[in-house]
Symmetry: D2
Subunit: 343 residues, 4 copies
């Protein structure tokens, strides 16, 4: 939809119409009392063409307003309203299935990881999370155990049977990560790392894609589209808080994203209350709120001894409290029509 | 806490210490390897004094970081952790009591108001909301029925017994509003209308104070402090969405505000999902999420025929669906340990 | 422009067309391959009607996108591109005229005010600013000298001949403010205090309207429209910083607002670098930047002894430095084609 | 600085003191009337240790406020106020040297690139910009010419002698980019792509590092620290607009960042008005404003025929207007004490 300036001349209007047609789309002008609007009718590919026409800079053009959403494979329409249900080694997520993904922020040691894995498994978690590669704001901060962390995750998986969710930050680490990860996590800071997204797309491995700290939902869905376009349909979206001017918590958890992502897309929606809040006291209320809002899962940090955690200890749930937490989440999810996914 | 620049001289440090002491506070310098920090120990009144010292502009000063929260009467500390429970004509809100406040955005007609009032009462609402004076972004938009609207609210109150929540925008309208309002609503755009807050404080009437569209929680609590300072202790805080760069919904409902306001303050916390979202399909999931997060109440818009509504129809729940909605909210609130407040 | 959902039925499309026509507008449907868009052609009044139709909530409607700007009197079109030049007691602002408005944040004492007034007059300021009523986040902070402040401003005006710019916070104070103010300032927190705007509109006195801390430019222009609609055409717009997540300065000065407000509106645009930055070291660079961006004026805080200032001392320019500052601003404004306005 | 809760017990306070000491820092408690604050005195390395102590989650701890900036090599202190001046193949930037970096958004063709290169060289540009790898929100959009684009840049460099600024998105493309780039650009979306930053740091090649769309200045400086830490001291910082809720332009150019980055760091500061605004009419006023605010350079998009541009045409200056533009920027930069850098 191209909105012309009030002062646009007939010649300028005609020039725009011609350009639209040259891109293979139909131009449909509407002349109002004060200005003219030109509808350009085509499909996503032609939209991409129209985008490259530079219409926004043309004489007489006020602005160009896209009508169609810029994503296709991620859109709800493509599956005619049917929801995607993923099956990760037997654990389902999406539709009526609610998955609790739990574990430490970072893999620190064999003991810490195995102890946490046992506890979350017993309490009904569907998958184990744990970071081997950690994106850190400071180059002086602990950057993760790397390959040793991956090895420990493999051990935890063998011991508990829990599928592993772990982050990939660098396409050059894809191979070792593929050896252990059942779900590859893409962190908020890499949501628009397009070469990484395409590479993961090509790998075919399920993905948990976190919303960037200031990303809109359309941008998140376009990031998902990068993965989907490579033929990988196993994508979960994850809301983890956005930056606002409120300083009382690390970020603002945007739970409206849950129902809206489900209107816009067929993909499962997961919520990460731990990173959003940055402190433990908010994790339980926001987990319950996420379940009530209709989330398909929660990814949450748990630590046997958070005071000793190498990173993000203040936001980790105490392992001892996890069973009670899981039960509370389960009862709210049940009210929202979802059953906890476990094997 | 005054942080000196790394290059600050001893004279500059001494000058700051002297200034702090001149305001009646104790100065407590800490010399680190790279810079000096000066703690100023006093109470809120002395803090206000220290604020007026212009320390931020003093030579050698890098920044001034307040440690104590700037509000006192609104703080959780003043009641030693005990929560305020308000009693509005027999309807309780706060503590274990959850109040559902429902009604049309605007009073449009006798029929519309009375029909809605009957329905929300039957479904368990604790209070009736309805605007007689409407703050509108456009001077060309409908501005409310004014005094005629107040008269209709009085009739609805007499008929149903429901206490009335209605907005005051102009201190010059206080008198007629006091004749009908059991709770005076202060809208988001007036959260920092300080003369209005003080006037309502002096009136002694209970207040529902909405968070401004870009207000921090500290600013909201300072606005409450304006009311409390005049001796009016009957204040409810209301989260109604903040502006972000997400364009898929009108504002971003910040549910973390619910548990955090309860940590910071003893006042009840209400959530307005209707104005936050701006569209009906989000109102139910976000209401459930608010209840799960521990809110003390919800203020929600209901209309017998939203397609005909004069304003904000797209966000109003259908009156016909309200009983089902109220039951769903009640069951989630119950999980959070709260019972619906009604007479 | 009404965008229908992809799944909208013909009946739903027809119902929307009928509604649009019932509001007196022309409906113009465009059927694309995937969805239908309906253009509604009318003018601002009919737009207001269309807004009240509740189309956003109608079955089959995806979203409603307004095409015309919602303001009329503030728009550039209404004057066919001619710029408004205000004449405040002989000082011009707008077009080729650049006005420097300077003075203390708050009127504190006779000495402070008169000394500052003399200095800024000598350095070429066009008007004197000074607050008698101060909006303060904290009820415990100094709230201004009130009527005594107004009396001192009157004395400064008589002495220097400088027109006075001072803030009005409460419509009930309009009369005494009108006795001394040549320009009534509306603060950022009152930008959407609609009864106050309308009252000032009726007074006919020139207005300096500050952009709210999270207001969009469209909202600022709608606030101006409230004043203009009452017949008062003497409005200046003022950019004073918006809230962002950047914590190094109080707010983020949005200088793109200067050229864009001039594209959208015929009204003069003033910049307030003092409140935006909150600290002195940024005031000069940002003043020069504002002049370079094409601002019609600057409102800046100056104090003979900022360390002793009752409020906002850290952001006040030293009176001793003001002449040099004014000369620097003048030379950048000259490059932007503007001459300093003085008598 | 660790702020204890008002209700913190002596045991809790002692436990925190002990933890601080265990990290090798000095603990310095200040007991106020209402609460206790504990200063932890150490250096950046110990701060990193203290960060890992999980103090925020400890019983009795209200919050932890860092005093020292988390970057060291990027800080102004490390060079005792002396500014870094980079020399890129004879073109200086920083200190009194202002560099104009100009060219097309994307390398599209031999003709387009060479024509633009000739024009910007003649008008006094110091370097040529041009993208071979383009980060695009949509996977369906043009992603750059890749290696063929690099080859054309090499040709333009040979022809004009202008140093080349071009973006690297993927560490796996480092080698070919190093063959032609005199300055490696890191785009806003990759500002926190930590493996990429470290890799570029190791390459030793000068870097132009763009601020992320929602990054704070501290985060930008921490990203620079990742490069500096690898021994690469040739870093320029670039402000290119941040996301806000204002919808009239693509992002909000934050010019306060210019003087503040210069207070915080010794590194040169460049402004990108093209991407910030997204449209041509704002580029000249914002370039002048950037120069007035004290920027060390501008990176701007120029195209011989923007209407035909493959991407971002609407924001490109017309090549025909560039000489006039450069002269205007030069005269404002001169007022700010800077001379255009050219050979």
């Amino acid at each position: 939809m191209i909105v012309m300036k009030e002062a646009a001349t007939d010649e300028e209007i005609d020039a725009v119409i011609e350009k639209v047609q040259s891109a293979g789309a139909l131009a449909h002008p509407i002349k109002g009392a004060r200005l003219t609007v030109i509808g350009a009718i085509g499909d996503v590919e032609q939209d991409a063409n129209i985008e490259t026409l530079g219409l926004e800079g043309q004489p007489g053009v006020d602005r160009v307003m896209p009508i169609l959403k810029p994503y296709k494979l991620a859109s709800a329409q493509i599956r005619h309203g049917e929801r995607t249900v993923l099956d990760i080694q037997g654990r389902k997520i999406g539709g009526g299935h609610f998955a609790l993904i739990a574990g430490p922020c970072t893999v620190e040691s064999r003991e810490q990881l195995l102890e946490t894995a046992d506890i979350v498994k017993d309490a009904g978690a569907a998958m184990l999370r744990g970071g081997a590669y950690k994106p850190r704001t400071s180059p002086y901060a602990f950057q993760g155990l790397g390959q040793e962390g991956l090895r420990l995750l493999a051990e935890a998986k063998e011991r508990t049977g829990l599928p592993i969710v772990t982050e990939l930050m660098d396409a050059r680490d894809l191979e070792p990560v593929l050896e252990v990860a059942d779900v590859i996590q893409v962190g908020a800071r890499n949501m628009q790392n397009f070469p990484l997204l395409a590479e993961i797309g090509r790998s075919g491995r399920p993905v948990l894609l976190k919303r960037g700290l200031s990303a809109t939902l359309d941008e998140l869905l376009m990031a998902a589209e990068y993965v989907l376009k490579e033929g990988n349909r196993e994508v979960m979206l994850c809301e983890r808080g956005i930056k606002t001017f409120e300083g009382s918590y690390r970020t603002t958890l945007d739970l409206q994203a849950v129902p809206v992502l489900k209107e816009l897309s067929h993909l499962p929606v997961v919520v990460d209350p731990s990173h959003a809040a940055g402190r433990r006291s908010l994790v339980t209320p926001m987990s319950l709120a996420a379940a009530a809002a209709g989330a398909d899962g929660i990814i949450v940090e748990v630590h046997p001894n958070p005071d000793e955690a190498v990173c993000d200890g203040p936001q980790a749930l105490l392992a001892d409290d996890f069973a009670e937490y899981a039960a509370a989440v389960e009862s709210v999810a049940a009210l929202a029509g979802k059953a906890l996914s476990a094997v």
